[in-house]
Amino acid sequence: MDKKSVLIIGGGISGITAAVEAAEAGCKVYLIEKRPYLGGQVARMNEYFPKLCPPYCGLEINFKRIRNSSRIEVITSAEVENLSGTAGDFTIELRLEPEYVNSSCTVCGDCSAVCPVEAKDSFNFGMSMHKAIDLPHELSYPNRFYLDDLVCQKESCKKCEEACNYDAINLEAAPGKRKIKVGSVLFCTGWEPYDPTNLKEYSWGESPDILNNVMMERVGAPNGPTSGKILKPSDGEPARKIAFVQCAGSRDENHLPYCSAVCCSASLKQAIYFTEQDPENRADIFYIDLRVSGRNEDFLKRVEENQQIRLIKGKASEVSLLEGSPVIEAEDILSGRKIREQYDMVVLATGVVPCIPGLKGIELDPDGFIAKDALENGLSAGGCCFEPKDVASSVRESTGLVINALQ
């Protein structure tokens, strides 16, 4: 067994960065991802903060580095079931989802064309439809089709299998298991947005025009459900007035007691790309404190100078519906008045919830993040495992973490 080998759990931006850095430094790398594609949350983003450039640009460079490296093995649709051993000698047991579409896939699309089943596209949070066999998204890596076995009719249909000219589809594929031995393990298991169904006071689920911030990224993305035009999900009309509700579930002892750190930047960014779509567009940001630090403060300045954006100090206490449109109630603290305003769309800036697998050697702190001091020797963690973090700091940290694998 190669002493310098590392298994990275999570193929988001943190895991990918660590993987290419470790491989280029001479390490054998196993990159485990539970989804059928790499990129994690970043793959769904419209623009990066604060440069407002497309995130896929950076991801593609990294995908190229993965392709060019002989030391990285990417294992998608896989989850870690068990972790045992000590530093230098870990054994990881993986559970592999059935691989209905193998690497012979050429992304020709013949299967999807004949597929009779349409389902909500989870990549776009159900705001668009796709086929039961489809590309996860147009730039997904590994670049191959994916069969959603929850909706596929399988044996009773088989149309895709017949249509495929490359023997890439096997509807009888079974789940598998695999054991890997490595010297060290790196957790980059990432985060998910706080479940907005808990936010009853914000009328979640009562109107399609009340979204959360990750959905807003899809609505703004050129490869999203509306091809990047920000339209009201309810009727497809352009949204002219959007409210951003900060701390939707963060800094709240009934929800997440901690500050999720990235939502302020995210909403400022979204307000900018929304108002840039049309000079008539108006954005209101309801905040408790605007938490943007360091050089990002320049970005805040840019928002403050934007005449189309209003920053309103005051937590939105309620989002209700009036004739179908969302209405926000808050105190405008700086003027000491109560306000009640109607919007075309409301974006809830939901916070960061860590996704930590329940494995031996991992202890959680009261907020559900990995307790830093309790990590066993040979294990390390990056990305949002310890605390909410933005992409730039995650990337910097992942690069540094590779040293743990090399020692």
Partner: protein
């Protein structure tokens, strides 16, 4: 520039009374936004929260908004930090009553369990003194007739005198409160650093109409009903409120009858029926209030309990006294004496207990309404 000299003892007192850590308040305004009574231009309780956290006792003592709150708890539920603005305002109301009360020692008696014996024995002793002076401090023989024990003339005379005395106390307290509120308002209005936020161009509402509107709102419990949390509180208060007013009229008529007509009244006399109905409403309402408090034990303190329990005991003992007369119970006069002590406690202490809320809140509601347009 606002100069702030925080009253640390005051901050600690508020925190102790409510179990709320004032520094955890992050001034997000969720409390104000969720409050159905906070007016659009004149908001609370977020402002009171920062004044409390900074120990600005003087400003808070002169703040009528402490009283416009009906403590429904909407703000405490919506608070993301677990601070309880509703409880803080309740503590501030109690603090204001103590602050404005004259003589101050009576208000202090109501606050601490240590003074409980004094608070009870004082009225009992005075009643015994009056009875001794009247020469009737002994259990009369024969069928139960309370006027044998405490003659109507002595009863009406002494209790009216007592009511006048405590009302003088109440008026002094209210005057101090009102004066302080207006002084503080003038200070704030003339503060050049804090420009008036466009409230002055509005014509003040005619005083009488303002007062009538407020009284209408109180009688209908409109403000109470607008709360989302704890709707039942409005119902129980409505029962106690109208039960009490009914009994007040009945008492007034009873005093007249002892002078001009026959007394006691027959059980079928409309006045008697009204009295029994009022007592029933009062007992039901106050019993529900006690049950509601028992369910969430943290929401009440000694002063609150003292007032509520004395009110309940007053009602309950009054009903027993009536029953004792009809059924010729042997301990009727003991009950009657107990009931009279409760009556004294209520009348003597009304400007100093939570009972004073009806005065302060009414005045505060009228003050906060003036300077705002009707509608």
């Amino acid at each position: 520039m606002i100069e702030i000299s925080p009253d640390i003892a005051f901050i600690e007192k508020l925190q102790g009374a409510t179990g709320s850590q004032l520094t955890t308040c992050m001034q997000c305004g969720a409390c104000t936004a969720s409050c159905s009574l906070s007016e659009d231009q004149d908001v609370f309780p977020r402002k009171q929260m920062i004044m409390a956290a900074w120990g600005m006792r003087d400003r808070l003592m002169a703040d009528p908004h402490v009283w416009t709150c009906h403590q429904c708890g909407d703000c405490s539920v919506s608070c993301p930090r677990g601070v309880k603005p509703g409880e803080i305002l309740a503590a501030l109301r109690q603090e204001q009553i103590v602050h404005y009360s004259k003589p101050a020692f009576l208000a202090r008696w109501m606050q601490k369990p240590a003074f409980f014996p004094a608070a009870i024995l004082f009225p009992a002793a005075i009643i015994i003194l009056i009875l001794s002076l009247a020469g009737t401090f002994s259990i009369p023989e024969g069928p139960v007739d309370y006027s044998e024990f405490f003659s109507h003339a002595w009863l009406n005379g002494s209790f009216t005198a007592l009511f006048v005395l405590s009302t003088i106390g109440a008026v002094i307290g209210l005057r101090r409160f009102t004066r302080n509120v207006f002084t503080q308002r003038t200070v704030q209005k003339t503060n050049p650093d804090k420009p008036d936020q466009g409230q002055s161009p509005q014509a003040p509402q005619p005083a009488l109409r303002g007062i009538l509107t407020v009284l209408g709102r109180i009688m209908s419990h409109r403000d109470f009903n607008s709360c989302d949390e704890q709707k039942s509180r409005s119902v129980t208060h409505f029962l106690v409120f109208w039960g009490f007013i009914l009994l007040l009229f009945v008492t007034f008529f009873a005093i007249l009858s002892t002078i001009f007509f026959e007394y006691p009244l027959s059980i079928l006399n409309p006045i008697k029926i009204a009295g029994n109905l009022g007592a029933m409403m009062l007992l039901a309402g106050s019993s529900f209030m006690i049950l509601n408090r028992l369910r969430k034990r943290d929401q009440s303190n000694y002063a609150d309990w003292f007032f509520l329990l004395s009110f309940w005991l007053l009602t309950f003992s009054g009903m027993l006294v009536e029953g004792a007369r009809f059924h010729e119970w042997s301990f009727a006069y003991h009950l009657y004496f107990f009931h009279l002590v409760m009556v004294w406690i209520i009348i003597l202490y009304y400007p100093y207990t939570k009972f004073a809320h009806f005065l302060y809140r009414t005045v505060a509601m009228i003050i906060t309404r003036s300077g705002r347009q009707a509608g």
